[in-house]
């Protein structure tokens, strides 16, 4: 039985297979509308989410399956002191597949041991968010039809931003890719990922402190939100939250075919004036997320159409 804990659980070939399926779903939605008939998805969100949970639920409903679950830990038996292992083992008796978000890093590993059904990591603390990465990859693929030779700028909270950790791990497997990390000193990209994913394989990267110095060379600009919920000290959050704000003015030096992405939700880091720029694809990402999750659910349930 296969689970998805980390984007690197999937080979490049498996990712390509998912993207091809997602594109086919976009082109032929009718073909898939009964693909998961009779199957039940449990969405266990121990941490609040709008997009990811609704995206999973919409994905399963569009495949003809059904969903159940909870959207906050307070409405689960966790509030009564039940362990994650016990909660998961219980839900595994009801559902055919589980999508789980949890504030603690590594929680999906614990869940996968006890569930008895496939587990999808829908975000674990500041650690990983592999289905967001599949969403990002589909968005890039639809624009460029390649992942090779791209220069990717990642901006904002690179320390706790689980989406950027997973995206770097995924993109580092393609040849000719370069990374530019744009972050304040307190929120720099984790050293261990740089060592494991980039330096060990000789993949070029640079760390800069301003958007302006990175902008002209980027093929992709991936903005992230400074996440209030990851800070133990609110004063640090307030000091750092508006470090980077993307505006039309800052985009003047950018390439004409730049792709601007953001996992959403955004706060202030992208001015709404950027939304009308044709290079802004963050709302396309949202839609792509549902299609690629449909493809993933089918793959993990081993459903064919």
């Amino acid at each position: 039985m296969k689970n998805l804990m980390n984007i690197t659980d999937l080979s490049k070939e498996e990712i390509q297979e998912l993207l091809v399926t997602a594109e086919d779903i976009i082109a032929n939605p009718q073909k898939y509308k009964h693909a998961c008939s009779g199957k039940l998805l449990a969405t266990l969100f121990f941490e609040p989410s709008t997009r990811t949970r609704l995206s999973f639920e919409a994905a399963m409903l569009r495949l003809g399956g059904e969903v159940l679950g909870f959207s906050e830990a307070a409405s689960s038996s966790t509030a009564k002191g039940e362990s994650l292992s016990d909660t998961i083992q219980t839900v595994g008796c009801y559902a055919d597949i589980i999508a789980m978000r949890h504030p603690k890093e590594g929680a999906p590993v614990v869940a996968a041991r006890r569930a008895g059904v496939p587990i999808i990591n829908a975000g674990d603390g500041g650690h990983n968010h592999p289905t967001q990465t599949l969403t990002d990859l589909l968005t890039i693929w639809k624009c460029r039809h390649t992942f090779e030779g791209l220069t990717i700028g990642l901006c904002g909270d690179l320390k706790f931003g689980r989406t950027v950790h997973s995206l770097v791990a995924a993109m580092a497997r393609y040849s000719g890719v370069k990374f530019v990390f744009i972050a304040p000193a307190e929120l720099k990209f984790p050293r261990y990922i740089i060592e494991d994913e980039l330096e060990s394989r000789g993949i070029p990267y640079e760390e800069v402190s301003t958007m302006e110095e990175a902008m002209p060379k980027l093929d992709i600009l991936y903005m992230t939100r400074v996440q209030k919920e990851r800070f133990f000290n609110e004063a640090d959050y307030i000091r750092l939250k508006d470090t980077y704000i993307l505006t039309p003015d800052k985009l003047k030096s950018a390439k004409q075919d730049l792709i601007i992405m953001h996992p959403l939700p955004r706060v202030n880091e992208i001015s709404v004036a950027v939304d009308d720029d044709p290079r802004a694809l963050y709302f396309d990402q949202v839609k792509n997320g549902m299609f690629v999750r449909m493809a993933l659910i089918m793959k993990l349930l081993e459903v064919k159409v």
Binding site: S85, K104, E105, G106, A107, V110, D124, G126, H127, Y192
Partner: protein
Amino acid sequence: MIIGQIKDGIVLDHITAGRSMEIYNILKLDRLDCTVALIQNADSGKLTKKDIIKISTPMDLNLDVLGYVDPGITVNYIRDGKVAERRHLCLPERVVDIIKCKNPRCITSTERSLVHEFKLVDPARRLYRCIYCEQQAK
């Protein structure tokens, strides 16, 4: 200084000089009621200086612990006054319930009865990471 041979027991040789007391404590050798000799800064052709621990009774050793703490150790099992078996340690692939994950955001910080487990990711740097959150062992 002369310390006699042991008939049945274990000799931990090639301990990095100065680390024998740490090994003594980790293995809880103070709880044994047999003779235990702890030799510090012995001359060594291989290491220049080394520590040695001699335990005059057979016992089960957690070789993963020893390998993690000091992978250069040689374990000699002595039977009838002779070396019956010699084990050269190396860094264990997995370290279970020996070190604790220090990441406050790790699931090990809240999930009851979860055994702390680390995997070896880079032998050259002796680098271990938590199997749950990937935090580096310290």
